[in-house]
Structures are given as structure tokens and as C-alpha cells.
Subunit: 217 residues, 2 copies
């Protein structure tokens, strides 16, 4: 077995033992690869009139799913193929990439909370039925934690608050400016992008420790 | 101007003002893109008998340089072209990639200090004159800080010690297990890879703050 596999197993064992011992106040972490959300009209422009997304897999947040459909995204310097579409369709089209991706695209997307795309970077979308130039919609998603009100009470945090999250392992890191997002329909989960994941050797089994950030209040 | 450019300027201004105010105990950070060091015999196998590297640019550490020559590296899943060779030739061939790169290659390199390649991951190197299968030599370089003995005394750290380094800005992060490397010929500089850089929006102008890590002693 390689070092990373051994370390992952050790981290998981330690995490479970710790969890059993102290009622588990750790935060499960999910890694978001590049993806896009499309409005119904943009979906139809790219895939054809009346097109409906088909489900490949449910995501952890209720109602959200990964579609079978993918698109190509194109920036001034390069393109990235097979960018997964997440459903269901939204009001506004939004493409979430990593900083690594943005260098490849030659784009300069801002770091934003999902949904906040005003003044964000332009991006070209290419589907089997056509292409679209979006004047804005390309962002790097800010790391955030979904939680329900009970979790928020337990961690003593509020919707919109920024916290730090510490991740252990062989490449430990603490991520700052992690946004708390509270809704009764959310399942406790931190979302990081692939750059944050790779910088901290974070996989789908990694857990984080929430740290209140007084300086960010 | 985009948000990242504005933020970079603000960070630089704040950094310079802080530096002037408190004798600047910040750590300059350099971002290491994927690269390789070759032994003279491997260089000749890839480029031809008696081949000598030609200098493209000096690097910040004295005597080190980026060569004009590049190679292609190949793993079980994919390849990466134009991987820069750093000179001068070393005793052992070593290829340093990011975790992002390793996913593309389909390889599982361990996180290692430069030079510690025993039991590391295999990699195929392709040059204009031939290719080589190296049974080991592929690593992800552990973040480290080069410094001279005067710097070490100033920061109260020793060669081989692990510290944390805090980076501010719009995507603040603290990197753990950062190795201190002391030598009279070193210039003060932290080296991170592109994953760590992109996770923290670290550019060549970013500075870090060294934090003693009692837990790592």
C-alpha cells in the first residue's frame, strides 16, 4: 500500500475513535470538482429546445443531483471539456472552477459565494446544440459549510459568519474565511474545491475541525 | 481591474507598510511549478551523449537555474508535457509534481523533502533522444523554508524543525508541517507547490508569517 492510502486509513480510524469518544463534533468535507449550474433557457440553447437534464447521481444536499450531461467551457487561453452539470436548473447560470482551472482557461474569476455572480468573470459554454458567451457567471467558489439550525447552535455559529477549519493528516492546513450557510434543509458538510483539497490532501473521507474566528467577526 | 489584481496590490501595500513598521519578519514565498532534476547520466539518456543543460534563468537560491530544456513525464493514466528541468545536474533524478498533477498522471507520489526519494513513486521520462523508466523519483515536495543561520536565530528555529506558515489575503490559509532548511548559502524563501499556492491565492508577491508549532516538536 502506498503512503497516502495508509495515511487515509489511519486518519479514518483515528477520526472514528475520536468521534466515538467525544460525540463527534467534526465536519465532514466534500470536494467539489469544477461544475456548472444552468438556467433552463441556457440549457436549451446548449442542448436543444425543451431539453431536460437526466440524473446520474444524487448529491449529498437534498434535491441536488449530478447530471449525465457535460459541457465544454472556454476562456481566452484554453478550454476544459466534460464539465459536469449539476441539477436541477437554476435561475442563473453559474460555472465554478478552481484557480488551477482558471489559469488553464486564462480567466480571472473572483472568489465568491455560490449565487453571487454579479460582475464575475465571462465564460463561453459549448454544448452539442450550440454555444453561449456569458458576460458573467464564472467564479471560484468560497469554501463553506452547509448546516442546519441545530448544528449551528451546537457549533455556536450563525448564517453568514466566517470560521476557520483545521484539517490534519500528513499535509495539515487550516482554511480561513470559510462561510457558514444555515438552512433547515442542509446536511452538515463542508465544501472545498480541488485546489484546497489537493493542498491539504483532503479526500471524501477527511473531516475538519471548526474554529471560531474572532478576527473575522 | 479584477478583484484578484486589486487584492494583490492591497496586500503588497499592506505588506510593505507592515515591513517598514516592524523590521519585516515576514517570509517571501515562491511558487514551485512542477519540475525535475536529472542526474548527468539520465540527462544524456534523454538528450544525447555529452549533453549539457543550457541556462534559461537563474533561480533565487544561489547556483540553481531553470534550463531551457523540458521533458515529458508519463504515468499510468496520463502525461504532462514541457516539464522544466532545473540545473545543475544532481546525483539523483527527482521529479516534483503537485497532487493535481499526480491525479492526471494516475500516480501516487509521497509527500517528501527534496532529495528523499527512496521508495517514492515510479515515473517515465521522455526526451528528444530517448525515454527512461525510473522505479522511483516522483514526489510531491513538502513545503519548506530556506534560510541562513542568522534567519534561523532570528525566527528561533532549527534545521529540520516543522513550523506553520500563515498567509493572509482574500483566501487566507495556514500551512502546517512546513520544514525549516538552514544553510549559509540559502536565501530566506518559502517554497510551496502550485496546489498550495492556488488554495491560498499565493503569488510570487505573497508573504507568509512563521508560527512556531509546539505540537510538531
Amino acid at each position: 500500500m502506498d503512503q497516502q492510502a495508509i495515511e487515509a486509513i489511519v486518519a479514518e480510524v483515528v477520526s472514528r475513535l475520536n468521534g466515538a469518544a467525544k460525540n463527534d463534533d467534526s465536519i465532514p468535507i466534500a470536494v467539489s470538482a469544477r461544475h456548472c449550474h444552468l438556467s433552463q433557457s441556457d440549457l436549451e440553447a446548449l442542448f436543444g429546445e425543451g431539453y431536460e437534464l437526466t440524473k446520474k447521481a444524487d448529491l449529498s444536499q437534498p434535491g441536488q443531483f449530478a447530471a449525465n450531461e457535460t459541457i465544454t467551457i472556454v476562456g481566452p487561453r484554453g478550454s476544459i471539456e466534460k464539465v459536469r452539470i449539476l441539477g436541477p436548473a437554476r435561475n442563473m447560470t453559474q460555472v465554478e472552477v478552481s484557480q488551477t482551472d482558471s489559469i488553464k482557461l486564462g480567466s480571472k474569476p473572483p472568489l465568491r459565494e455560490s449565487g453571487d455572480i454579479k460582475g464575475s468573470a465571462p465564460i463561453t459554454l459549448v454544448g452539442p446544440n450550440g454555444s453561449l458567451y456569458k458576460k458573467e457567471g464564472l467564479i471560484i467558489a468560497q469554501a463553506h459549510i452547509h448546516m442546519n439550525p441545530d448544528d449551528a447552535a451546537r457549533f455556536d455559529v450563525k448564517n453568514g459568519e466566517y470560521v476557520k477549519v483545521e484539517v490534519g493528516g500528513i499535509r495539515p492546513a487550516t482554511l480561513g474565511k470559510v462561510l457558514i450557510r444555515v438552512s433547515p434543509r442542509y446536511k452538515l458538510e463542508m465544501h472545498v474545491d480541488t485546489d484546497e483539497a489537493n493542498a491539504g490532501f483532503i479526500t471524501g473521507k477527511t473531516k475538519g475541525k471548526l474554529i471560531k474566528d474572532e478576527a473575522a467577526l
